[in-house]
Amino acid sequence: MAGILRPLAGRAVQALTVALLVGLVSFALMHALPGDPAMRIAASRYGPDLMTAEAAERVRAELGLDRPMPVQLAEWVGRLATFDLGRSLVTGAPVAEELEIQLGASLWLAGAALALSMALGLPAGLLAGMRAGRLPDHLALAAAVLLRALPVFVTGLVLIIVFAVWLGWLPAAGFGGWRDLLLPGLTLAFGLAALSSRVTRDATAAVLAAPYVAFARTKGLPERLVVLRHGVRNAAIPVVAVLGLQLVYLVEGMVVVESLFAYPGIGHALVHAIIARDVPMVQGTALAMGLTFVLVNAVVDLLCAALDPRQVAR
């Protein structure tokens, strides 16, 4: 039992570190950006036409933007300790409320992308691994290299042109039903499947060549049971382990894809908050992403420990 708890305790410390670092770095980066934050915030609140020098001064005074930076940062950290993320400088609404809506939307998109990438990557990897070194393997490798090398916005635009503009099957943008999830989800899934198919391929080929699979055959088990009882679980270990890493790609891709498909998620919100110099929103969004990352990796740790007894003993 202690074997499982130790990595989880490690993840808890990591979560704390992530929270502090994310807050600090996003604060520092926001203040390193050129331009006057007060004028940007005023422009976002009242629109560029109504923005005047007095409006900017009012914003500065109201939000205390002329106070020393360490004081502003300390204030954020102090509030964070009471689980208060502050209010948006633009809308005045609590950051936590806005995040709740946007994070929810993003989780739907991430879930769809992950499911689609499994549907694409696992069969492709299995097929390539069973025919390692032959034509299906080479084709799967070529496809994976191409899809991973293409920037997300290029994949997304190609999908929009083909499925929304030419064929007219799916909407180019929006939020609501499953049809809206399909194109942005697929855009992310291609990049994810590129990596997971290669990991699946290597794991499948390695397990099929393993002495324990050969022994399972010669001890008399039929092939179906050899694969089910001795193949699947061993091959799944590296595939699951790499899921945690895939999340980096997913978060990165989400910022681009949500803007591209006008999808109201957390990545979209982050871009807007940066433009508007809405520091609490930027900090809150980055914090939510960072903590999600830690949480998912903790879940991946647990899954790996459940699959592979050697990891618990170590």
Binding site: F215, K219, P309
Partner: protein, 468 residues
């Protein structure tokens, strides 16, 4: 339960040539057959041809008949139904052949459940009983990585027995086991034969053939060069290769003259080490002098390798003191590893492996060339990768790489345990000569008492570690 196997003019060929030439023998219940030979002699191919597991690029011809039924003529699916039920295979290195993520009991019980079609509860009870019968009652809920090599070997035997096949094929069953475990496994196999099973064992260990008795076949370059009753073949070998094989056994080695040792090069006093609550070394004193071979003898887990690693400073001791000879640079204390392929980077040529050492430590290339001549290593081998060399060649390269650094002390960690008997003798001769020639102090770790007695000035016997 009885299986008669007849192999007549078996031939295994690849596109590049014939690998097994016209091998014929017969196996009947109760009389085990042992195929002796070094790696590459084709003995594994014979077993694979009987089992029907030859790689696709190899083709077998000739007759292999089990109770009169010709096996190669059967469709593949039908051949597979014989696996486990009529023919069982005891795999080599069972710690690799057991599923690392499944508990031991499951791996035994599934044979009863899925091969013999018994209900799940019965299968588990049967599995438990079989494991208990082999002294593994405490291990049923453990995973293979929690077992020793000898325990894994017994689990594999339980699995091979479970389906009750009457022909048992054992593929190098003692590979990687120490002397005590090796004798236990050989005796266990002998017991299978005594119970009326037909048994074919392939090995390069003459001791295994001696314990098994029955009949012996000696293979060389794909041919069965000698075949007859074990008592006769092992006592009065007719073929020259069989004679060399028997002469390569450490007990048969001629005595050696031992140079007079000089000053101590390294000395350890009161060395103690505990791993995870288990005491492996408890106040051991050891001293190695220039030109002297000191053998450390003991079963697996007795701390032999740990002692050498402590002397070299690779592992910290819990207590005790290590003192090196005065004026000897740290680089002059070196180690040769047990598993030659594991001691070289697999994707780099031997030339690169040696040149890197030369560049790092300022050793001229001529030094390596001289050592290679001395060790009978042709320059043609330099552009190959480690996987393309034999174990003996690689181990000689490992020695050359170490000796280029002009060591004063060499820790040889079971340097011959993974080698064929004839190669093992060559490497042992080399170690003996080097100790005399170069006034090298050698700490030789081994589990072969005969080798220790033959090579060493002094033998330090370590007791098996106390439990708890």
């Amino acid at each position: 339960m009885s299986a008669h196997l007849e192999v007549d003019r078996l031939r295994v060929a690849s596109r590049d040539g014939v690998l097994v030439h016209d091998v014929s023998f017969a196996v009947r219940p109760g009389v085990p057959l042992t195929l002796l030979g070094e790696s590459g002699s084709g003995k594994s191919l014979v077993v694979q041809a009987i089992m029907g597991t030859l790689p696709a690029e190899l083709a077998a011809s000739g007759r292999i008949a089990l109770d009169g039924r010709d096996l190669p003529g059967l469709p593949e699916a039908e051949r597979r139904t014989l696996w486990g039920r009529r023919i069982a295979l005891l795999p080599q290195e069972p710690w690799l052949a057991l599923d690392p993520t499944m508990r031991v009991l499951g791996q035994v019980a599934e044979v009863y459940r899925h091969v013999r079609g018994r209900p799940a509860g019965d299968s588990r009870a049967e599995g438990r009983a079989r494991l208990a019968g082999l002294g593994l009652a405490d291990a049923v809920h453990r995973y293979p990585f929690q077992l020793s090599g000898g325990m894994c070997q017994r689990v594999a035997l339980a699995i091979a027995r479970a389906a009750d096949a009457d022909l048992l094929l054992a593929d190098e069953p003692t590979k990687g086991l120490d002397a005590a475990l090796r004798d236990g496994v050989a005796a266990g196999l002998r017991g299978e034969a005594d119970r009326g099973r037909s048994l074919i064992t392939i090995t390069h260990d003459v001791t295994v053939a001696r314990v098994l008795g029955g009949e012996v076949g000696v293979m060389l370059d794909g041919r069965l060069v000698e075949y007859g009753p074990a008592a006769e073949v092992l006592a009065r070998p007719r073929h020259d290769y069989t004679r060399r094989l028997l002469a390569a056994e450490p007990v048969a080695w001629p005595g050696r003259d031992r140079p007079v040792p000089g000053d101590p090069v390294i000395r350890g006093a009161g060395i103690a080490k505990t791993f995870g609550g288990r005491t492996v070394l408890d106040g051991v004193d050891v001293e190695v002098r220039a030109g002297e071979v000191v053998a450390v003898l003991g079963p697996s887990g007795s701390g032999k390798s740990t002692l050498g690693n402590i002397l070299l400073g690779l592992v910290p001791a819990d207590a005790g003191e290590v003192r090196r000879g005065p004026g000897l640079a740290p680089l002059r204390f070196q180690k040769v590893y047990q598993d030659p392929p594991g001691a070289f980077a697999p994707q780099r040529t031997l030339r690169r492996a040696l040149a890197d050492v030369g560049r790092r430590h300022g050793v001229a290339w001529e030094v390596f060339e001289g050592l290679m001549r001395r060790f009978r290593l042709g320059p043609g081998l330099l552009d190959r990768r480690p996987g393309q060399l034999s174990g003996g060649e690689l181990q000689r390269f490992a020695l050359a790489r170490v000796l280029a650094l002009n060591p004063a002390f060499l820790f040889a960690d079971e340097p011959t345990s993974r080698l064929d008997p004839i190669t093992q003798r060559e490497v042992a001769d080399l170690l003996h000569e080097l100790a005399g020639e170069r006034r090298l102090g050698v700490l030789l770790v081994t589990h072969e008492a005969a080798m220790a007695a033959n090579l060493a000035h002094r033998v330090l016997a370590l007791e098996p570690a106390a439990a708890g």
